[in-house]
């Protein structure tokens, strides 16, 4: 004879079955995060306290020596890191400022045009769509001694501005040129963010300013610009992050050259990890990566404070 089941016990059974199903469904995501996230982060962090070339079965633990070597202790690595840090600082200073200087006026102009607005937006967004290895190679050809830019300058009678060694071959122009290319590729997203911001500005505010006699410049400078400060903060943060961690442009276009005149911290990390001729420098690469992470954390904190103040 069947024994009746108490309603409470039955409910508990259903609840635990539901929980088991829930766990089963989230398990793949948890496993994936544990392997791809927690494990790799922990692995990378612990590697920063060791020397290893990727082949030996064991790591050689060195404590904080990798960090010290990178920052000051090693006459071999510290000068390279200092030089790369200086170049990175220039990039971090120039790229956000130039991105805002180009993207904001461009967005204001695009917002004000009545005809071909969509076409123009697409045109100015092209660098974002096309950015990639092929485009950077194309830039290399354009910037060579017999490339399109020198040809254009000479045909316009501006031969004095042309670079006989190419824009990437002259140590004085190589870094500014790479900064220009980085700005070129970061302007589209910034412009799009500004456009979105401009379209959310209350037209009544602009109308009121105009009624008070403000011209286009004053409206932009004293009404629109302050209202878009949060967008500017985001644009600057994104550009700073790209400048600090991005290095593909530098790797493809100059590989840090000529000499070491365009080496940046991201590229130096890559070089230590993969281009060190089998030296046991994976730990150094990891340590430099964590130093970059720390710098990014500080920047994020500063940005958060700025955002709170501006919004």
């Amino acid at each position: 004879m069947a024994v009746p089941i108490a309603p409470g016990r039955r409910r508990r059974g259903i609840r635990s079955a539901e929980a088991a199903w829930g766990y089963a469904f989230v398990a793949p995501a948890i496993v994936l995060f544990a392997v791809m996230g927690v494990y790799t982060i922990g692995y990378g962090f612990s590697l920063s306290f060791a020397t290893w070339n990727g082949f030996t079965p064991q790591w050689h633990w060195v404590g904080l020596r990798n960090y010290a070597d990178l920052l000051w202790a090693s006459p071999r690595y510290a000068p390279l890191v200092h030089q790369a840090a200086l170049h990175t600082a220039w990039v971090m200073l120039a790229v956000p400022v130039l991105t805002v200087v180009v993207a904001f006026p461009l967005a204001v102009l695009l917002n004000s045009v009545r005809r071909l607005r969509t076409v123009l937006r697409s045109v100015y967004f092209l660098p974002q769509v096309t950015s990639g290895i092929a485009v950077y190679f194309a830039w290399v050809y354009v910037l060579q001694p017999d490339g399109a830019i020198n040809l254009l300058l000479r045909s316009l009678g501006l031969g004095g501005l042309s670079q006989p060694q190419g824009f990437l071959g002259n140590p004085a122009t190589a870094l500014p040129t790479l900064i220009g290319i980085t700005v070129w590729s970061s302007v589209p997203v910034a412009m799009l963010l500004y456009l979105a911001g401009l379209q959310s500005v209350d037209p009544a505010l602009i109308e009121a300013a105009r009624l008070d006699g403000a011209g286009a410049w004053r409206v932009t400078r004293h009404v629109v610009w302050p209202l878009l400060r949060p967008i500017t903060a985001i644009v600057i943060l994104l550009a700073l992050r790209d400048s600090l961690q991005g290095f593909q442009t530098f790797l493809i276009m100059t590989n840090g050259g000529p000499g070491n005149h365009t080496n940046v911290l991201g590229l130096q990390t890559y070089r230590l990890a993969f281009l060190s001729q089998l030296d046991p420098t994976l730990g150094l690469a990891s340590a430099l990566g964590w130093l970059l992470f720390l710098a990014a954390l500080v920047l994020a904190a500063v940005n958060l404070r700025a955002m709170r103040r501006l919004t």
């Binding site: 990727g54 006989p164 000499g259 070491n260």
Partner: protein
């Protein structure tokens, strides 16, 4: 009592299936690159060797019934990462083409390669050219280097052998376009550095836009190791040349000897092809093929690339980077060294078959066929006139190889600190020429400072 339906059981089954699936896939990954009694897998980083190796493999299969699968992974950093990953997952192939006296010792020190010292006997070594026979083995000099702190070859033992030679060659070969030379009134290769600089001047005067020298300085070591070092060896002789990298400040790059040598090298500054400092090695060779330069600095291996890209070998004049007339070495020549070798992995399941394949590659007829297909020089002794076996271009280079104290051997790195980092030193040299941001004295002082930092780790 009626058993209650266990609603959580299907959920448990899902988790079990996922776990088993992950376990199965993890286990099955181990044998991808593995071998059997009848199949060997060989990884190479040289795309130009693939067809030649496949051709040799066909003959090997006919002879032994063993198939050799050749797989290429490149460029070099991708290849190294591939080997790193395979080493971690126990998925190495049976055979690996390696940079001799470099990768092979590092991989061997890490336990990835089989020690071939007991298998490669005198009879086997006798098939190779005498200067390259020790290549791939742990000499006393390499063992001493392995004792340094942070040495990448720490763990090797004297007498071990981790590879046998596959291709030999040398750096410091100048390729010149014969037609442009003729137009400038030059009919023979320069015998001295001064004649070379005079030829550069004549060609540049005749053809200012395209009369220069190309070299892939995006890899800065090309300027240092392929161009400056042979000239410096000829100028200073072996001992004073080695001392440039030494600890004695009276003889390093910052010494009067060092600065004089740098100033001599700096004589080429007006003749660089515009923008050569931004080109990688292939792009510099292509610039020569496209007629953007008249001289191209490379190695014996450059010929294959030029030919593959359509440059007629009949239009090339090749000669070694010459020594200055007042140099210590009067008849400077270039000694061959093993550029690439083949290693057997420690995890191969067919060691006997792998060794059979290596021996087969060392046969004179197989090596000659490989050389003609790959346009690369084999390590095998092909007699007094190798041209009949490998063709006139490769044969001429093989005949030009030197030996003894008047021959500069780029493969000998025993005089440098074990943690030496060529690109860093070479970048400083680039600041002197072609970039001209440093004087010879300043560059010499900086190079010495950098090299000193390596000695502190020794």
């Amino acid at each position: 009592m009626t058993p209650q339906p266990r609603a959580w059981r299907p959920a448990l089954a899902v988790v079990m299936i996922l776990a088993l699936g992950a376990g199965t896939s993890a286990c099955s990954g181990g044998d991808d690159a593995g071998s059997s009694d009848k199949t060997l897998t060989l990884w190479t980083f040289k795309q130009s060797h693939v067809k030649a190796l496949q051709q040799a493999a066909e003959g090997f299969t006919k002879e032994t019934g063993i198939t050799v699968k050749v797989e290429a992974y490149g460029p070099d950093d991708v290849f190294v990462t591939k080997v790193q990953a395979a080493a971690q997952t126990g998925n190495l192939p049976d055979l690996i083409e390696v940079h001799a006296n470099g990768d092979d010792l590092t991989f061997g020190a890490s336990g990835l390669l089989a020690d071939l010292s007991k298998d490669v006997d005198e009879a086997w070594l006798g098939a190779y050219l005498p200067p390259v026979r020790p290549d791939g083995s742990v000499t006393d000099a390499y063992y001493k280097q392995s004792q340094a702190q942070d040495s990448k070859i720490k763990g090797i033992k004297p007498g071990q052998r981790f590879s046998v030679p596959l291709t030999v060659g040398t750096f410091g070969i100048v390729y010149a376009d014969k037609r442009r030379l003729a137009a400038a009134g030059i009919t023979a290769a320069p015998a001295t550095w001064e004649e070379f600089v005079a030829d550069l001047q004549k060609v540049k005067a005749k053809d200012p836009a395209t009369g220069g020298v190309s070299i892939g300085l995006k890899s800065p070591t090309t300027g240092l190791e392929w161009f400056m070092q042979p000239m410096a060896y000829g100028l200073l002789g072996a001992d004073r040349f080695h001392a440039l990298w030494g600890k004695d400040k009276a003889a390093t790059f910052s010494s009067p000897d060092g600065v004089r040598m740098l100033e001599t090298y700096g004589q080429v500054t007006p003749y660089w092809m515009p923008g050569t400092q931004s080109l990688d090695i292939d792009a510099a060779d292509l610039a020569f093929v496209q007629g953007k330069s008249t001289f191209d600095i490379g190695g014996t291996f450059t010929l294959a690339f030029l030919a593959q890209n359509g440059f007629d070998a009949a239009n090339v004049l090749t000669f070694p980077v010459p020594a200055p007339a007042a140099g210590v070495v009067k008849n400077l020549s270039l000694a061959p060294f093993t550029r690439t070798g083949v290693s057997v992995s420690a995890t191969t399941k067919n060691r006997a078959g792998a060794l059979q394949w290596l021996k087969y590659l060392a046969k004179a007829d197989v090596a000659a066929t490989f050389a003609k297909e790959a346009l690369d020089i084999p390590p095998t002794d092909l007699g007094a006139d190798p041209s009949t076996a490998v063709g006139p271009a490769l044969g001429a280079m093989m005949k030009a190889f030197g030996s003894g104290p008047s021959a500069y051997n780029p493969g000998d790195t025993s005089y440098r600190p074990s943690t030496y980092d060529g690109p860093t030193v070479a970048s400083v040299l680039m600041d002197y020429t072609p970039l001209q941001t440093k004087s010879a004295a300043a560059a010499g002082a900086e190079m010495t400072k950098v090299i000193d930092s390596y000695w502190t780790k020794q």
